[in-house]
């Protein structure tokens, strides 16, 4: 029976020390798990696929005798289903916690970045509520935490980052598996499998199993059919890659491998250019390229994807105006515009609410209320705080404070 198992299952880490790489992330997670009074009730493990996030949770629960209640991407994760499983699991402390054999339950939500769309409507909101009310540790895992929908979730979680597993560590693990399976493997073959995996331990083990199936000797020739795996890279790595690229081609390849949002990336390039080019002539050329790239982004819209390569090429050119002058600098990421919108969200919401009240009473649109009426209401309030207009518009005291302190619209 165990012979037919996938090797990723057969050699799944049983102890924490079995999880290869990411030593600091492991220590951080164990420290959090061992704490009795956790500052944050949930932890979000994030990083590329196949680096040991799920393996660490399983190994830690095994070692510390926790019982895992798991929901992963194969389950439907609507608000209703998450509440159905998560609420009973997190609202009560299991009696077996008081026994010597078990320490209780852990709620483990794997691939939370996959909770989206119509299918999983309300899922993230339900998870946040569960985290806030939970009596047991909640552990989540995700590949990409840059997504907008995960921002509220990140606020209530302790974040632990996982990095790609290094090639020598993968080779050592593959050697160990080969010796356990009585396979004599050429070092070059294992080296090729490890390099091909690009830091993904799971895919390396799967590739090893597929190439050495039914063989006692694994040669380099056997691994020749393996195809290079594509890896997505995030915003920071993309910025770092394109700004330090030595040619337009290198920068363009980096851009095409990236999984960042095109609009955010355009803004980020624009924010970072002044740090990259101290010479004003270079800076002007680079901004010219960015403005052209922006034109192409507009033309791409949602259907003319064939124009995307021009967008990429122009951005690549903008970042490599003078490749030799590159010196490391502190990248601005996320874009300033996105950040300022994020920080001013409450203020903007407040103004929107006031405009909605005025619009309702004056029978105008919210926009008209904002541009034509609010400035006059502000002047009136500055002169006389408790005027009749306040009660007529049903403005609250904090609305008044906001309008009086507001500088400009």
């Amino acid at each position: 029976m165990i012979k037919d198992l996938l090797w990723v299952e057969k050699y799944r880490p049983k102890k924490i020390s079995d999880v290869v790489g990411n030593e600091l992330a492991k220590t951080k997670f164990i420290d959090w798990l061992k704490k009795k009074n956790r500052r944050k009730k949930a932890v979000l493990l994030y990083g590329p696929a196949g680096v040991g996030k799920t393996a660490l949770v399983n190994a830690a629960s095994n070692q510390f005798n926790f019982t895992i209640i798991e929901m992963n991407a194969s389950d439907t994760r609507t608000e209703k289903t998450i509440n159905k499983v998560g609420k009973p699991a997190t609202s009560f402390i299991a009696l077996d916690r008081f026994s010597s054999e078990s320490k209780g339950n852990i709620l483990f939500l794997d691939e939370v970045d996959g909770v989206f769309g119509q299918q999983d409507r309300g899922g993230i909101k339900a998870i946040i509520n569960i985290v806030k009310q939970s009596l047991i540790p909640v552990v989540m895992a995700a590949n990409d935490t840059d997504q907008k929908k995960l921002r509220p979730l990140k606020k209530v979680c302790q974040l632990i980052r996982f990095h790609q597993v290094r090639i020598p560590l993968i080779i050592t693990t593959l050697q160990k598996i080969c010796s356990a399976e009585n396979i004599e493997a050429e070092f070059e073959a294992l080296e090729r499998i490890a390099q091909n995996s690009q830091g993904d331990m799971r895919s390396a083990i799967n590739d090893l199993q597929s190439t050495s199936e039914g063989k006692e000797i694994l040669t380099l020739q056997d691994t020749m059919l393996l195809r290079t795996r594509n890896k997505d890279i995030g915003m920071y790595e993309t910025l770092r890659g394109v700004f330090s690229a030595e040619s337009v081609g290198e920068a363009a390849i980096m851009l095409s491998r990236s999984n960042v949002n095109y609009d955010d990336f355009l803004l980020s390039i624009s924010d970072n250019l002044p740090f990259r080019y101290p010479e004003s002539a270079d800076l002007a050329t680079a901004y010219d390229m960015v403005s052209k790239a922006d034109v192409f982004r507009g033309r791409v819209g949602t259907e003319n994807w064939h124009l995307l390569r021009y967008f990429f090429n122009l951005l690549a050119k903008a970042t490599t105006v003078s490749p030799k002058s590159f010196k490391p600098f502190d990248f601005i990421s996320p874009p300033i515009r996105v950040m300022s919108l994020f920080w001013t969200k409450n203020k903007r919401m407040k103004l929107e609410n006031i405009c909605a009240k005025i619009a309702l009473k004056c029978h105008v649109s919210r926009n008209t209320a904002k541009t034509d009426i609010v400035p006059f209401v502000k002047i009136m309030l500055e002169k006389q705080k408790s005027s009749k207009i306040v009660s007529w518009l049903k403005l609250e005291p904090d609305d008044l404070d906001y309008l009086i302190k507001m500088n400009k619209l």
């Binding site: 990095h163 790609q164 290094r166 090639i167 050592t172 693990t173 770092r240 490391p328 600098f329």
Partner: protein, 109 residues
């Protein structure tokens, strides 16, 4: 090129904004010893860029071998072009141990 020790390292007098940025990124400062150390590796690439920017030089962290416990630089490694975490202060396996096919019995499985 400056070689730093991941456990603690010193920097020349750092401007306020650089200091605040380092602290935000996850670097800790020991007032008594006057040394910096990396407390969180979540923003390790940004920390590396910031320190490099402060020192105005390329910086390098030595790697610690999981098998023989020796320190070695990434320049000795045969796979720098495949490694997205090169020069970052993580544990690894040194080329000698890898070549000798020493398998860590306790640390892996």
């Amino acid at each position: 090129m400056v070689v730093l020790n991941k456990k603690s390292f010193t920097l020349p007098r750092v401007e306020r904004e650089h200091f605040v940025r380092l602290m935000r990124l996850g670097v800790e400062y020991d007032r008594d010893k006057g040394t910096f150390s990396i407390a969180s590796f979540d923003n390790i690439e940004a920390i590396l860029d910031s320190i490099s920017n402060i020192l105005n030089d390329e910086i390098l962290f030595l790697q610690n071998c999981l098998i023989c416990d020796n320190d070695f630089p990434c320049s000795e490694c045969n796979y720098p072009e495949f490694c997205e975490t090169k020069n970052l202060p993580f544990q690894c396996v040194c080329p000698q141990c890898l070549k000798n096919r020493k398998i860590p019995q306790q640390k892996l499985f």
